[in-house]
């Protein structure tokens, strides 16, 4: 009787090993950076646009601008002026912590990553860019894809 009971128990150890390996894989490849990107936007196609690796040293401010000119951050629409003012304040504080000689009038070291829909009119996009400039941002990266449909 006891012999038949022990034969009916499956050895779960290999399955557990495999599941842990899968968990490790997903933990390593999951990047929460993608959450800041609005994937519904259709980026323009520009042949010379190349992916740039910052190796995590450069601080980035990702701004998604849809074709109606709305600023989308982590899937939520934001008011352009107050949001960018707050971000600039934080970037300035961060810059001062890294470099005590950083002055309030200096250009911010943060790169503004603009992800705009290809149909966004310039007038609406320029509102975002101008507000960034008024708050001290000077470095910009305009996002595009290098092939259609990607």
């Amino acid at each position: 009787m006891s012999g038949s009971k022990s034969e009916g128990e499956a050895d779960l150890t290999p399955m557990l090993d495999m599941v842990f390996q899968l968990i490790t894989f997903f933990m390593l490849v999951t990047s929460f950076k993608a959450a800041s990107l609005d994937l519904s936007l259709r980026l323009p196609v520009v042949g010379s646009a190349r992916p740039v690796e910052t190796q995590g040293e450069e601080s980035l401010l990702v701004l998604n601008v849809n074709k109606d000119g709305q600023l989308i951050v982590y899937s939520l629409p934001q008011d352009i002026v107050p949001y960018l003012k707050a971000e600039a304040k934080m970037a300035r504080r961060e810059a001062k912590e890294k470099n005590p000689r950083f002055k309030d009038t200096d250009d911010l070291p943060t790169t503004v990553v603009v992800r705009a829909d290809k149909d966004t009119p310039f007038g609406l996009l320029n509102l975002v860019i101008k507000t960034c400039q008024e708050n001290g941002f000077r470095k910009f990266a305009l996002k595009a894809t290098d092939r259609a449909g990607s």
């Binding site: 779960l12 557990l16 999951t30 994937l39 323009p44 790169t111 966004t120 000077r138 470095k139």
Partner: protein, 170 residues
Amino acid sequence: MSRRKKKHNDSGVELNLAAMLDMAFQLLAFFIMTFKPAPIEGQINLKLPPPKPVAGVKGGEQAGDDDKNKSAVEAINTLVISAFSTPGGRIQTLAIGEGNVAGVSALDGRLKAVLSDANSPFDQVIVQIGSKLRYEELMKIVDVCTKQTLPNGEKLTKLSFVELPADTQP
């Protein structure tokens, strides 16, 4: 003695792996459901200073040559590109300074000719853009501009954007 102890350990320690497996499957389900691979995107890096008043550029004059002129504005050597848009947001007319260019590829040629000159006074480009011009069309112009090399060997990355009023015609 030792043999008896070993036998006792073998039979006594049996881990119930089912609970751990349950938890591991829950973790796995979480990671599978939240997994969203980041798309591979390219970018064009620019320095975008706010636009400054454009000074008249005299041929061959270098910044600071004129002792009587103490205005910092006069030191800016700016090339102005104008892009007028159709109501649908496409490029209607492109111009460098006062002269029209046929299209984006012609703009590339003209910019190369202007900037390859060793005496070229330009170190900054202002792009005047119609407010309806779509981002896709703007990026074609930006792409052409960032391909250019200045006489000092540096890539042209310093651009300024100025919005043209909606009713501006070429």
